[in-house]
């Protein structure tokens, strides 16, 4: 009899443990379940469709954000640099390259809980296509740094948070990337780590 209960207990433990863990894992922000990947970036273009899958819907609710409709734009998330290392507050990053065509785009840094990074210095934790310095062929470079830098500077200076991670969101507004033909352009800016503070 004891063996019978033990069997049930084991089955229950496996079920609840694995089921819960796999559900939690598939809804984690860093996981790209149901999304598309370009380099370090992940987007969920199917969130806007009437036939959005349950994973995408659950992720939207879990994140507590307002998803972008197809005509509005497409949002890309990056939780790691191009080498796959998590983005840290105490490191400098260089984001460079091109974005898929869009009328307006914005780039902002967020805490892992989804709130915008508030900087303790004069810098801003966000840039947008209208206030950015470009070089030819619409390429651009953004320096993500704790200390002021020349050019396009996205400040992630957060006192007392140096070992924590953040993530970036690049939103393309009014972009043909969300059209039914799928992602037209697969070029996204690269994120490379610079120096880190010890």
């Amino acid at each position: 009899m004891l063996r019978f209960y033990l069997t049930i207990l084991c089955a229950l433990a496996i079920g609840i443990g694995l089921g819960g863990a796999s559900a939690w894992y598939s809804l984690r922000q860093t996981h790209s379940f149901g999304g598309i990947n370009i380099g370090a970036w992940t987007a969920w273009p199917f969130v806007s469709g009437g036939n959005a899958d349950p994973y995408t819907i659950a992720k939207v609710v879990r994140d507590g954000n307002i998803p972008l409709g197809a005509a509005e734009g497409l949002a890309f998330e990056a939780h790691a640099d191009d080498n796959g290392d998590a983005l840290l507050f105490n490191c400098d990053y260089i984001l460079s390259g091109q974005t898929p065509p869009a009328r307006v785009w914005t780039l902002a840094a967020y805490h892992e809980n989804g709130s915008l990074v508030k900087t303790s210095n004069s810098g801003k934790s966000a840039v947008y296509s209208g206030n950015i310095i470009r070089f030819g062929e619409s390429g651009f470079r953004v320096n993500i740094s704790t200390t002021p830098v020349a050019g396009n500077w996205l400040s992630v200076n957060e006192s007392g948070n140096t070992n924590k991670t953040f993530y970036l969101m690049l939103r393309l507004y009014d972009t043909p990337s969300t059209s039914t033909t799928g992602l037209v352009s697969r070029r996204m800016p690269t994120i490379l780590r610079g120096e880190c503070l010890q």
Binding site: S22, A23, G69, A126
Partner: protein, 201 residues
């Protein structure tokens, strides 16, 4: 010994089946019971047929991943009461809107370029109201984007590009200078009978 093996196999197998069921249940139940749900947050802070601008203070805002260059406004509807009429002035700067159902699914989305004359003029109706409207030959119907939905309740979220936002200019500032575009947006019940009755008589 084989009996033991069979029992172990049986245990693991039942465990895996159970894991699958629990996994699916969690995924499906998260939207229903999610506490960070944007819809739950917005419902508390807005009334039906009343356009509400969301304060763009990142801390006070319960929503995640707010774009600091945008101002947001929301308009809730309940089609059992009346169709929704939403209007705003033409503007040079970018804005976009999505019509959501209660569950947070996007029914329709538009931006200033896909809108008629770059003006925000949207009617949200259910299928019966949509039929009535189309049969009414109401002349002004052509000036509206007609969104038909099976969902009776939901909300429209409007975002307007606001690069001079206080939040971006000064990271410590909490006040929002608002959006001129959002200030002039109207969200009201549409009196469908005034249109359909006129044709009958």
């Amino acid at each position: 010994m084989p009996a033991m093996m069979a029992r172990a196999f049986y245990t693991v197998f039942s465990g895996l089946v159970l894991a699958g069921i629990i996994h699916i249940m969690i995924i499906i139940l998260v939207p229903k019971y999610g506490t960070k749900d944007a819809w739950a947050y917005l419902s508390e802070r807005s009334k039906n047929y009343e356009f509400t601008q969301l304060q763009n203070d990142a801390n006070a805002l319960g929503l995640s991943e707010i774009d600091p260059f945008f101002s947001y406004g929301i308009c809730r509807y309940d089609l059992n009461d009346a169709p929704l009429k939403m209007q705003g002035d033409a503007t040079e700067s970018f804005w976009s809107a999505s019509v959501f159902d209660e569950g947070g699914k996007i029914i329709y989305s538009l931006n200033d370029r896909t809108a008629l004359n770059r003006e925000l003029s949207v009617l949200v109706v259910d299928q019966i109201q949509g039929l009535e409207l189309k049969e009414s030959n109401w002349e002004e119907l052509d000036n509206f984007i007609l969104v038909e939905t099976n969902a009776t309740k939901g909300y429209v979220v409007l975002r307007a590009l606001q690069p001079d936002n206080a939040l971006v200019k000064d990271s410590n500032a909490s006040e929002n200078n608002g959006s001129e575009f959002l200030d002039l947006v109207s969200c009201e019940k549409f009196d469908i009978e005034s249109v359909t009755k006129a044709i009958d008589s």
